[in-house]
Subunit: 112 residues, 2 copies
DNA sequence: GTCTTGTGGTCTATCAATGAGTCATGGTTA
DNA sequence: TAACCATGACTCATTGATAGACCACAAGAC
């Protein structure tokens, strides 16, 4: 009776989500942390941590990333320093892009 | 009466979140998609897409990953094929880990 | 220049996610 | 082996996120 999710997700994002959950779990076990301990450290409930490790699509990304960070799962860059500089670089890069996508696009297929 | 957020987040996860949002935006502009179009394609509202691009911590990770996938932002592996096989490998790896973390850990600092 | 339109911002009602609690199972240690 | 405890799964109340509208502004087209 648990109304499923009702939000369509591609297989790609589902796989990525499950992988992230597994990596979190792996990191947690490597640090020999119980779900209770890790949840407390991340400031979330144990139930939420379980959903994260299961790859639930409904968890808030803030909670997931926080847990991942604590477990040592590399989000983009392993080090905070590198991540910060990459973010700064990306910010500058964004400034060079057009601010808006003009509507000439309908069935755009420039994916590749 | 907007009770702020009240969920602490590390700088690392905040940066990762903002970077992800920027990458989504970059991918969207590269594909010349409007926020309205992308939101519709991802099955979310435009307001949510805006929060995602802004790096809001409260968005559901399912929505964020879905949008990222559509925009071509590599989550772990660029290709779905590679991601799936990595997930399969990770699953096997998990089977070899201890199922539970015994509580001998209190102030575990094996981070390093 | 004007006009069109994509975007950011805000607000509110609705509904799903979260936290807290419980129970059953099974892994882990003594 | 037995006892303990970490885990998974579930329910329920409450909080928070989401959708959908609005407006104002700015960017690009003409």
């Amino acid at each position: 009776m648990v109304k499923p999710i009702s939000r369509p997700s591609s297989q790609y994002s589902l796989n990525a989500l499950e992988l992230l959950g597994q990596l979190v779990r792996e990191g947690r076990l490597n640090k020999v942390l119980t779900t209770t301990d890790l949840a407390a450290r991340a400031g979330i409930s144990r139930a939420l941590l379980q959903r994260i490790e299961r790859g639930d699509t409904g968890c808030s990304i803030g909670a997931v990333f926080e847990v991942a960070a604590i477990c040592g799962v590399p989000l983009f860059e392993q080090e905070q320093r590198q991540l910060a500089s990459r973010l700064a670089f990306q910010r500058e890069k964004m400034a060079l892009l057009p601010k808006a996508a003009r509507s000439r696009a309908k069935g755009v297929k420039d994916d590749f």
